[in-house]
């Protein structure tokens, strides 16, 4: 997990033998306060909706993969900033 000024990257979790997913919907808006493991967004692959949890607590600072976007294995979905 890389940390820089933009915050901590939210990466697509390892879902097994899956090469890519499609972002269905974000369940939180930019600026939302997150607890670790909060439901963050839904992705779909193989007729399966998978709910991606927040990897850490913080504030959702950026959505990188918008709804409808295709994300490859390990790809960046968004970023989480720490509380000030």
């Amino acid at each position: 997990m890389n940390t820089n000024n933009g915050g901590t990257e939210i990466r697509l979790p390892d879902l097994g033998e899956i090469d890519e997913v499609r972002v269905v919907q974000w369940l939180k808006e930019v600026g939302a306060t997150l607890a670790e493991d909060d439901d963050l967004l839904e992705v779909e692959t193989e007729k399966t909706t998978f709910v991606v949890p927040a990897p850490i607590a913080g504030q959702l600072s950026e959505i990188v993969a918008a709804e409808g976007a295709t994300v490859k294995r390990g790809g960046v979905l968004g970023r989480i900033g720490q509380h000030e």
Partner: protein, 233 residues
């Protein structure tokens, strides 16, 4: 492959018989929560639904081919749900299987999970002397160009709900109300592919055996009260 040896894990089967979609959906959500906390082992719900059309997360309304008045006249309910996939029809003569499974105990692999459901279906149909298979990129089970089983799953906290619908003897006219999965494919039922009479009870029994092999379960029938667990238990 996991067998029925000493390594098999206990799992529950909850047979609902015939049930309305909405109440089964609520039940799935309750069992999902209990599976997440580890209060229950992997649990398989089997059910035959009253006629219903459901939209998954990737549904297009254009794939519903009839008006709401027609649905009402036919007594078909409509639900928008969290599973993956496009529009699906459920109704009498269809074996619906909802595995409430912790994927962390089965390799944390979404594709393998779906593959196990498909393989259990293919093995069940083989037992009925019906040859079926997978189609790359099109989850579900196919008999040549026709679809015999549909898949639509939801995974949260690595626990699944929703699942698979296998057509045993479905009213073909009801399938005409939708463009199934948005693929313009034809649906087919097992009974149309066999010379022998096929009952849903037999298909269910075989399916549960094949599924237990796939997941390494020692399946035990449980009552709703046991699974929902009364507070004083």
């Amino acid at each position: 492959m996991a067998g029925l040896g000493s390594t098999s894990r206990p799992a529950f089967h909850l047979p609902l018989g015939r049930a309305e979609y909405g109440e089964t959906l609520e039940l799935q959500r309750a069992l999902h929560a209990r599976r997440k906390t580890g209060a229950i082992p992997d649990t398989v719900i089997t059910v035959e639904h009253d006629p219903v059309i459901t939209f998954g997360r990737s549904s297009s309304r254009e794939h519903l081919l009839v008006s709401s008045q027609e649905l009402e006249r036919e007594g078909v309910a409509l639900f928008e749900v969290e599973r993956g996939g496009d529009v699906t029809y459920h109704g009498p003569g269809q074996l619906v299987v909802y595995p409430i499974v912790d994927l962390r105990e089965h390799g944390r692999d979404v594709k393998r999970f779906v593959g196990r459901l498909e393989d259990a279906t293919i093995a069940t149909l083989a037992d009925l002397k019906i040859a079926s298979g997978r189609r790359d990129g099109y989850p579900g089970v196919w008999v040549e160009h026709r679809k015999i089983a549909s898949i639509g799953v939801y995974v949260r906290g690595w626990v699944s709900r929703h699942g698979l619908a296998l057509n045993v003897a479905v009213n073909q006219a009801h399938f005409a109300m939708i463009n199934p999965c948005g693929l313009s494919v034809q649906m087919v039922s097992a009974c149309d592919l066999s010379d022998q009479p096929i009952t849903i009870e037999r298909v269910r029994a075989v399916f549960l055996d094949r599924m237990s092999e796939q997941f390494g379960w020692r399946l035990e029938e449980a009552s709703l009260a046991e699974i929902l667990g009364d507070e004083d238990e």
